[in-house]
Symmetry: C2
Subunit: 410 residues, 2 copies
């Protein structure tokens, strides 16, 4: 990287002209002025500043403290803004002006890029659901009877969605092992990660009007990486009959970068073969294009790669999840976030959470600094991903990271 040529990137850069993910950042000089940024190489473009300098008709939407107004503006605006950004960053005629709006990545602080409306978490990996079923309900059928008929999901806590880098305080709560007579209270002993992919809704919908799969691209603005931190001991004691609650609600981390869906066109892929017939609103053909996404995820713990889950292995697609989530008439709001659930592939090293990787603690993961069953205080987890881009390029997704801090009262 050289100061003189911020616009010149090697062809294999993960954040080149076909990517252009969005963020919200501040600088040391203006810590109270959050601004929309766009990543280009190892720089961030101050999008509002560049828009103003180039007389963009979208300057107002880009000079905002978060992405919500842009996301609400709808797909034709998303496409027009993306074309402008690309033009400013790649056309020689703008090279002299756009550089004034570029800031080095190391000189900014990243913030939650959008206001989260509702947060829904799905359970869309057959491998994950099967492994969890085998661990939690040994001897029974690993998948519940509904699993192949609908994408199972539930609402999470949107108020505790935090941006990558936010420390995660080990949660306290009730837990009761099967062999204990009564529950006890204390810091979670089985703190876990869940490597997931999140989809961010831009265009809202009206109450009572289902959103079909074919309208997926009109409503979904982009993609982020998600770590759905999970306290397995709290979760196991509380989740019957109404589902996970405090085992999840202490924190959900999302990447600071939202990758536009249009950057992932080359990553579209067919989902796994279906083993059960689907009701019409969930049929794969209903989306009009392959519903899967070939995202290659990597999970590291204290700098050591512990898993490489393939998003292409997910049974349920994001378009199916959107159609299901709204088929009862539930409306969408700008800022709704729905995540895939843990991404796990068929191989052991493709499992996206420690519960599966260590088979509930039976098979510890070996790290240079010792063995792990679940997370210890001080552990840092970083989830990254990339996708195939046009012409053999790669599209990088912004990382989601978090470090475990000790429980408050310890």
């Amino acid at each position: 990287m050289s100061d003189a040529t911020p616009l010149e990137l090697p062809g294999d850069h993960l954040f080149g002209p076909d990517n252009l993910p969005y963020c919200v950042f501040t600088t040391e000089d203006d810590p109270d002025l959050p601004r929309i940024g766009v990543r280009y190489g190892d720089y961030v473009l101050d999008a509002g500043s560049a828009a103003g300098a180039h007389g963009s008709p979208h300057t107002g939407l880009l000079q905002k403290p978060n992405l919500n107004p842009l996301m609400a503006a709808g797909r034709p605006v998303w496409q027009a803004v993306r074309a402008e950004l690309r033009s400013w960053l790649t056309s020689p005629e703008y090279a002299g002006t756009v550089t004034h709006s570029l800031i080095r990545l190391e000189d900014i602080t990243l913030h939650l890029p959008f206001e989260v409306a509702d947060y829904v978490d799905f359970y869309a990996s057959e491998h994950h659901a099967t492994n969890v079923g085998r661990i939690f309900r040994p001897g029974g059928e690993p998948l519940t009877p509904n699993w192949k008929h609908l994408p199972i999901g539930y609402h999470g806590r949107s108020g505790t969605v935090v941006v990558s880098g936010t420390p995660v305080v080990r949660p306290q709560g009730q837990r009761k092992a099967p062999d204990e007579a009564s529950p006890s209270f204390g810091p979670s002993r089985r703190l876990d990660i869940e490597a997931e992919v999140g989809f961010v809704v831009g265009t809202p919908s009206r109450l009572g009007e289902p959103v079909p799969q074919a309208a997926f691209r009109e409503h979904v603005f982009g993609v982020c990486l998600v770590n759905d931190w999970s306290a397995r001991d709290i979760q196991a004691w509380e989740y019957v009959p109404l589902g996970p609650f405090l085992g999840k609600s202490f924190a959900t981390s999302v990447s600071a970068w939202v990758t536009p869906l249009d950057a992932l066109d080359a990553a579209r892929t067919e989902p796994p073969q279906r083993t059960h017939p689907l009701l019409e609103y969930l049929e794969d053909s209903a989306g009009g294009e392959p519903g899967g996404l070939d995202l290659r995820i990597s999970v590291s713990l204290n700098g050591h790669t512990i898993a490489e889950p393939p998003f292409s292995a997910m049974y349920w697609t994001a378009a199916q999840q959107l159609a299901h989530m709204t088929v009862n008439g539930a409306s969408l709001r700008t800022g709704d976030l729905f995540a895939s659930g843990t991404v796990s592939g068929p191989e052991v090293h493709q499992r996206g959470c420690l519960l599966e990787l260590t088979w509930s603690g039976r098979d510890p993961v070996e790290l240079p600094d010792g063995k792990r069953t679940f997370l210890e205080d001080g552990d840092e987890v970083v989830i990254t991903a990339w996708a195939p881009g046009p012409n053999g390029s790669r599209i990088g997704l912004g990382e989601v990271s978090g470090r475990i801090h000790p429980a408050a009262d310890r």
Copy 2:
């Protein structure tokens, strides 16, 4: 009621000077200007207008389009504003001025009074949970092993919380009866109500810092009535293992009126005797005052009373729910809504949903216009409640109503 004396109320009026619930309303003249209102008798006080006319220091907080800024201001402000409102409405010195800010109830349109942040629904009635357990899991223990140790709850969809009077479109979705080989799609055939009481958070809390029961009054602004509409057939097919989702998320109705907690002091009552020891953060003494509330609820279907659930019978109190919801460090936001779950008492006519009232359809409810197992298109449900007030008075809670409209594609 007489035009000349809007300030003179009979002593037994449900909306007298000890009540003063808040709403947000518009008038026909200013349909795009939502304003904060306070109910007094059969009138609404335009609170911002009255505050301005009387030079209140809180005028800015009251001249807003919703209650969130007032709710975020904290309890000392809530108390100061309440004292002002009461003074304007009851002191002879203001009688000449305050009447200019009074509008007849029939001349206003009511709106959702606050922006909902996160919505959590609990399951706090032992009678309800036991009945549902008997119906859904016959032969087994009706209560799950965790039920007496923690207030079970889950997150609902805040984007589909609607104000009383909003029509409820019958949801469509997947349902599969146990004797059917595969699921089918269509309008819910088992559409139900759930009569609940909701608690609205004003003062936020910080991530990582649990809110103890003793801080309940500092954080909770007031109370509303809730109808958590439920599609039992959709719910039954989807809810294992991650809890209710589409069976609930199509609509949750709340009353247009938020009753300040301070109006319910005389309704405080001890909760039922505990059968199991509680962990310290859930102990009843931890709240510093009786945690129960003596609210007398009435549910009517097409004008016919079908149930009178007693809120005093709830096993878990709202303070316990708040402490539990945050014990893992989850933060509160202004506008968080947490509801009690269906309110049911020990008697048949005290059951707060049709699932229980009709024992899953076995024992239809008799109405003047015919029998009901579950809701039919056109049915209107109205939930009301009152509580004991000071000196033998009664405090009315604003109703929550809704009428069922046919499914969209029928």
